[in-house]
């Protein structure tokens, strides 16, 4: 039986990818950010997941306004890095796990979550930056990845509750997959940031830290948080954090906090990072 072994949360700031791609990781501004992901790489090396499900959002790369799926599950064998205007990031092609992805689609749709199945998709920084943060810059990514793209660009995104419930359904799907696989689920995006309009630059560390506490402890309050509160308190684009609740939903009610890191800023954004494991029983 496959099982979810950990939830891994992190921001996916494009400038982090640019710093990696342009060899700037040793500059003082960036060492502050990357220092928070050194221990992470050791933890991931020890965890050795067989598959990662990465919950992220596309930023007008794969999806224009022509088609806007709320939840899109990547079922392809591979996902090339998207050209976001400066050429594709020089990172490995992301290999999928079509068999597990197909099983998840079959299971969660019958579980009443009407996913969009995507068999051809390029992936942008939203997915590849977290892979760099967890695994560094290897020649090939260490394991297959199943992308789950969530619409958080066109308002309204799915509610936090819907995201959490989908995470629970994904867990049921994974646990009904016959092969023994260790699966890690990533929640990405955020934390507080606003990159649009006259209020751009908003950062709310108090909100972010409370959100991390909620994920690590009792998430019921953040599950119920309305969209307007994310936008008012954590910036218009801070609403990306609803995606973290998909990953939290795939875990036990009680979890152990394995690792946490928080710093401000990376470019326009607060960087948060958390690794949760199910509590020992």
């Amino acid at each position: 039986m496959a099982k979810i072994v950990a939830a891994v949360f992190s921001s996916h700031v494009p400038a982090i990818g640019a710093a990696i791609d342009n060899g700037k990781t040793q500059e003082p501004y960036w060492t502050r950010v990357f220092s928070g992901f050194v221990e992470t790489k050791r933890i991931m090396e020890e965890m050795k997941p067989d598959v990662c499900i990465v919950v992220y959002n596309d930023h007008a790369s794969a999806f224009s306004m022509d088609v806007v799926p709320t939840f899109a599950l990547g079922c392809a064998a591979e996902f090339p890095p998207a050209d976001e205007g400066w050429g594709p990031r020089p990172v490995p092609v992301v290999k999928g796990h079509p068999k597990l992805a197909a099983h998840i689609a079959q299971s969660v749709i019958l579980d009443e979550f009407d996913l969009t199945v995507v068999n051809k998709m390029e992936v942008d920084h939203g997915l590849t930056v977290p892979l760099n943060l967890m695994f560094g810059s290897p020649k090939e990514w260490p394991c297959p990845v199943i992308p789950l793209a969530v619409n958080v660009v066109l308002f309204p995104p799915p509610t936090g509750k819907r995201c959490f419930n989908l995470g629970q359904a994904i867990r049921r799907a994974v646990e009904s997959y016959p092969e023994d696989l260790k699966v890690a689920i990533f929640g990405t995006g955020g934390m507080s940031h606003q990159i649009s309009g006259p209020r751009a630059g908003l950062i709310n560390s108090t909100f972010d830290k409370a959100f991390l506490d909620g994920l690590a402890g009792d998430p019921s309050k953040i599950i119920a948080m309305p969209h307007v509160e994310y936008m008012r308190e954590a910036g218009a684009e801070g609403i990306e954090m609803v995606m973290w609740l998909v990953a939290r939903g795939a875990m036990d009610a009680k979890v152990d906090e394995k690792y946490r890191f928080y710093t401000v800023p990376a470019s326009n954004t607060a960087v948060g990072h958390l690794i949760l494991e199910n509590a020992a029983r």
């Binding site: 400038a15 007008a60 224009s64 308002f155 309009g197 209020r199 751009a200 326009n268």
Partner: protein, 132 residues
């Protein structure tokens, strides 16, 4: 019929890209999407006004693009991830555009971010902004 009042309309300095804005701004965002291709960027630069005529824009939308009114584009239904492609076409960094939208110089904006960003206090409601 008047539009229903939305709670998030009270967030100051913010244009929430909702269904209504998206409906109005489809052409703006469709235009920006074409800038992913170099041949289109060249055609746009060669004759901006003629290039824009392909997208069924309102006169206000077209003017906002020609004049690079970044906030106005958002107000008229553009979305930041799309208008960022126009900024990139112009050779502007994201932080430069952010600074323009906030009315700060790039240095002032960068300094604000390094100092921890814009504090939410005083920035939660339009009433708070009107006192400034």
């Amino acid at each position: 019929m008047t539009d229903a009042k939305k709670e998030y309309d009270d967030i100051p300095g913010t244009f929430v890209f909702d269904q209504e804005r998206s409906r109005q701004g489809y052409g703006v965002n469709a235009f920006c999407m074409t800038l992913m291709k170099d041949e289109n960027r060249k055609a746009f630069r060669a004759n901006e006004s003629a290039y824009l005529d392909q997208f069924g824009l309102t006169p206000e939308q077209k003017e906002s693009i020609l004049k690079r009114q970044w906030n106005r584009m958002l107000e008229l239904g553009g979305n930041i991830y799309f208008t960022a492609k126009l900024a990139a076409t112009d050779g502007l960094s994201f932080q430069q555009v952010a600074a323009i939208m906030t009315g700060a110089t790039q240095q002032e904006y960068a300094d604000m971010m390094l100092a921890g960003g814009r504090n939410p206090n005083g920035n939660r409601s339009k009433a708070e902004w009107s006192k400034k």
